[in-house]
Symmetry: C2
Subunit: 241 residues, 2 copies
């Protein structure tokens, strides 16, 4: 049994409508009663039912059109929320000891492939290219190859990254407005396999992240996780949106 906590009225209304939709009683395309009707049905003000309906619309369960009404949305694609943690926080958060080493570091003019990784078509920018290996309990955890746009974060060139790895440091330095992830599987190349202490050709999970601030790229990072030791978990329920 779940405890009967006092839900606010708008949440109650939202639940009631959600139940009709998720149970299939109201199939996709079905017309949801108008705000006016719901006001009469639930005996509350229109702002309250509006709050419930707006939340359902934001969650993608209904589509609302002026003059036409609200309709149950077609379940076209499943969305799932993936949490991408800071590596240092992820490891220390699970009670393991964290350590990292900087394998390589170079300041250079962005090469064509660097520009592609950062997600810009062309241009002349200086980048800091850093390769880091992260350890959890002294076991190689993830291999990181990062580019930092020095036009946006000039301090990165002077930072020794002695206490915090580049990712953690950057997160504290500048806020980001957009992020893009691509996730793929790759057979480990010789050098990465060596650093991660896995067999050459072993499957690795590769997460590439690009971070932008108002359209300009800040950093691009490629994280290579050993396949047999790592997985990403994502959960989604429309009710919690």
């Amino acid at each position: 049994m779940s405890i009967a906590e006092p839900l606010p009225r708008y949440a109650e209304i939202r639940r009631a409508l959600e139940e009709k939709i998720l149970s299939g009683e109201w199939p996709p395309g079905h017309r949801v009663p108008s705000e006016h009707d719901l006001v009469a049905q639930f005996g509350c003000s229109r702002m309250t039912v509006n709050k419930a309906l707006s939340a359902l619309a934001a969650a993608g369960l209904v589509v609302r059109r002026r003059r036409s009404g609200s309709f149950v949305a077609a379940p076209k694609s499943q969305e799932t929320v993936l949490e991408v943690h800071d590596i240092k926080a992820e490891i220390t958060g699970s009670g393991r000891t964290y350590r990292y080493v900087i394998l390589d570091r170079e300041r250079r003019r962005a090469r064509p492939e660097d520009l592609a990784r950062l997600g810009v078509a062309r241009g002349v920018i200086e980048v800091e290219a850093i390769t880091v290996l992260h350890f959890a309990d002294e076991c190689p955890f993830v291999h990181e190859k990062r580019l930092i746009n020095l036009a946006v974060v000039p301090a990165a060139a002077r930072e020794p990254f002695a206490v915090s790895p580049p990712g953690t440091w950057l997160l504290e330095q500048i806020p980001w407005t957009e992020a893009e992830h691509t996730i793929r599987a790759e057979n480990a190349a010789a050098d990465v396999a060596h650093h991660l202490a896995i067999a050459r050709g072993a499957a690795c999970l590769v997460v590439a992240r690009r971070t932008f601030q108002a359209g300009t790229p800040i950093t691009a990072v490629t994280l290579t996780y050993p396949g047999e030791r790592h997985q990403l978990v994502a959960r989604f329920s429309p009710a919690t949106r």
Copy 2:
């Protein structure tokens, strides 16, 4: 230049606050003016600033506490929204021809490993176990191993899956309330490699999805994508939440 469309007042206020936060002018922990102050500053009613602040709280940019006030949230973890499409829709949507074959099919009492895949501790349930291979433009696209809980979807045992593959058919049959994904990389096993027409041991992206309705498992599916031909893309910007 972007067109200057007339934003609603609450969106304007939200933007203004967001700008302060994302630019770093208001660092994490900084106190956001109270609703009362914002009402005076923007010359509108409290409901309007409340709507803006609530949206920022929902997006995770601020944390609100009664009597204490609203504070800029610490950017602790990046969230990203992954869209998981229906395979048939994904392929036909990009203009390729879609085809599938059922490689194997069996109705059986759930084995211990089946129960684990479905996410239940124990119990006696009948499952339909189906293996499907999907093609895009006659090229093997993804290998699917699925379990369907026949206690919830008894019709699955009688369905020939002649026109729609099990995943697409299920999506039309019953609504789901929760979904859980795990994403990992694996070296292709001999049989999967054979079906996908890739080398044995080639890196594959494995997406395992469990779908529930109000806590009871509906289906568990393991999708194996050839690593060199597939990747997942996820985008996130807090402003669009």
